[in-house]
């Protein structure tokens, strides 16, 4: 019962996040990039602020609401693009590896082990240092970190289903390899991959925020929740709201993602419960 309530609450929170991100420009009154210098560091409404800026303003007088909403948009965009790229590359490699087997499988899985054994976040810093922060860089770097998990999962799942009766039947009825993979294997391993993708939404959001916090993520002046926390860091004592709100947003969204992901894991693949550290 409690679990059901938390699950739906989390789902609702995620829906709100997506909706805010999608409708972003229609929801905000102020320009997220340009502030009013007369309204610098205005406190939120309940701490002596005005209706004009319900969550206050930052050091350049930019509306926190507008920046938070735009930050959600950027977060979601990075998530979707990264998961699409990492997911399709990882799944392609994993499925191929599991289906073909033999030396190809061994080589590809070595590659996955290799990818898992590198501190790729440092590569991100390096790439950021060489070519400066950019949207393309973050997507590239985070995809580089995450593809291997899809490869691992889809390989294992492909091995599980490839000798099932329905696959054998499809093979003996003369179906080609591509058709078998697309029509019979992928649809059957999809649920597990969706679980991986769900849990990764949280990872992507935190990685993007961390990189932006360090100044090698989303290029300024675009608001990212991570760079907003970084912005507010130096005057957290006098204007706590600048750092506090984006952090709470990250915490809530990632928590909701983890709850939904855990519930899905329980339903779809109970053997993995609590093992997706």
């Amino acid at each position: 019962m409690i679990q059901k309530v938390t699950f739906y609450a989390a789902l609702g929170l995620l829906a709100m996040f997506v909706l805010v991100a999608l409708l972003g420009p229609y929801l905000i009154e102020h320009d997220p990039l340009r502030g009013s210098l007369r309204a610098r560091l205005e406190p939120p409404l309940w701490a002596g602020g005005t209706m004009e800026y319900p969550l206050g303003t930052d050091r350049l007088g930019r509306d926190m609401v507008a920046r938070m909403v735009t930050g959600a948009r950027i977060s979601l965009t990075v998530c979707v693009v990264v998961i699409a790229i990492a997911g399709s590359i990882g799944t392609a490699i994993g499925t191929l590896s599991g289906y073909v087997g033999g030396w190809l499988d061994r080589v590809l899985m070595r590659l996955v082990d290799l990818a898992l054994s590198l501190p790729v976040i440092l590569l991100a810093l390096l790439i950021g240092a060489v070519s400066g922060p950019s949207f393309g860089n973050i997507v590239l770097v985070i995809s580089l970190v995450l593809w291997s998990q899809y490869a691992r999962m889809s390989r294992g799942e492909t091995l599980r289903v490839k000798n099932e009766d329905y696959v054998d039947l499809a093979r003996t009825s003369g179906l080609g390899h591509a058709a078998i993979i697309f029509r019979h294997i992928l649809p059957n391993i999809a649920p597990s991959l969706i679980v991986v993708a769900t849990l990764q939404v949280g990872v992507v959001i935190v990685l993007e925020a961390s990189l932006s916090f360090l100044g090698v993520g989303v290029p300024p002046p675009n608001p990212s929740w991570g760079s907003m926390v970084a912005d507010g860091r130096s005057y957290v004592v006098t204007a706590w709201w600048v750092s506090l709100f984006p952090g709470i947003a990250i915490l809530l969204v990632v928590m909701a993602v983890n709850i939904v992901g855990d519930t899905l894991t329980d339903r779809i693949n109970p053997a993995l419960r609590g093992r997706t550290a």
Partner: protein
Amino acid sequence: MTRLIVGRLAEALAALLLMSLVIFLLSRVTGDPVALLLGDSATVEDRDRLIEQLALDRSLWDQYLTFLGNALTGDFGQSVAAGRRDALDLVLERLPASMSLAAVALCFTLVTGIAMGVLAAITRGSAVDIVVRIVALMGQSVPAFWLGIVLIYVVSVNWGLLPTSGYGTWQHYVLPALTIGTFTLAAVTRLVRASMLDALGSEYVKLARIKGLSEATVILKHALSNSLIPVVTFMGAFFATMITGAVVVETVFAWPGIGRLAYESIVSRDFPVIQTVVLVITALFILANFCVDMLYLAIDPRMRDRG
């Protein structure tokens, strides 16, 4: 057994080589390596010397071999920002601070995480279990850089209990270790709870109970010792999270370690130092993974027969 160890060793070396190749290509193929490695204040003589030193006028392959040769002799170039100091020296003198923080954080994480996981598993469904699970969920979701800032604000500024940042006494360790360990703590807790629940429902635990052993013996000796194996498997991943976290957390707490060095050198665009930090951390990282593999081999005899 020997084959397995040699195989892992070869893999570790391959990973290190791959990383060096990536770093090398990043510095040579994107933009002007001379500007990247020397900074703005370089003279013409400096340029010529660097081109000579790194074989920049020769083929990419020759350049890579030169790069590797230099790296093997500990020559990673000179810092652009910190008064032309040797990059490797800069990194090595920051290493102890990072290692001590990681060690403190890891100990705290393992002890607290295992205790919380066991507690939640043996009181499954109770209020204690629910609280532990909520804490674990939050720990897995909170971004470290933000948690650090909040802790500084609440514990140091408002309550005045601990220093806000810096390095020196044991008090300085508390907040950074807590921040850097939170994610891992949550992961260990979840892992131990899940595998404890499995173990408590298993045949060998039932047998131990039937034999009339005390509850404490059953839980600590029979169930827990088996539940710890997955924790060992994930140790490499935990270490990875701590290293990743180090860059962020050391920056927030002004901790004089290699993580903060990495951040500072990015801000000052000090490429020689960044590449050294990345290579040193990669080496540490790979070494840690190798040790975890060996540890795993030592505690789980089934692994020895494979490969």
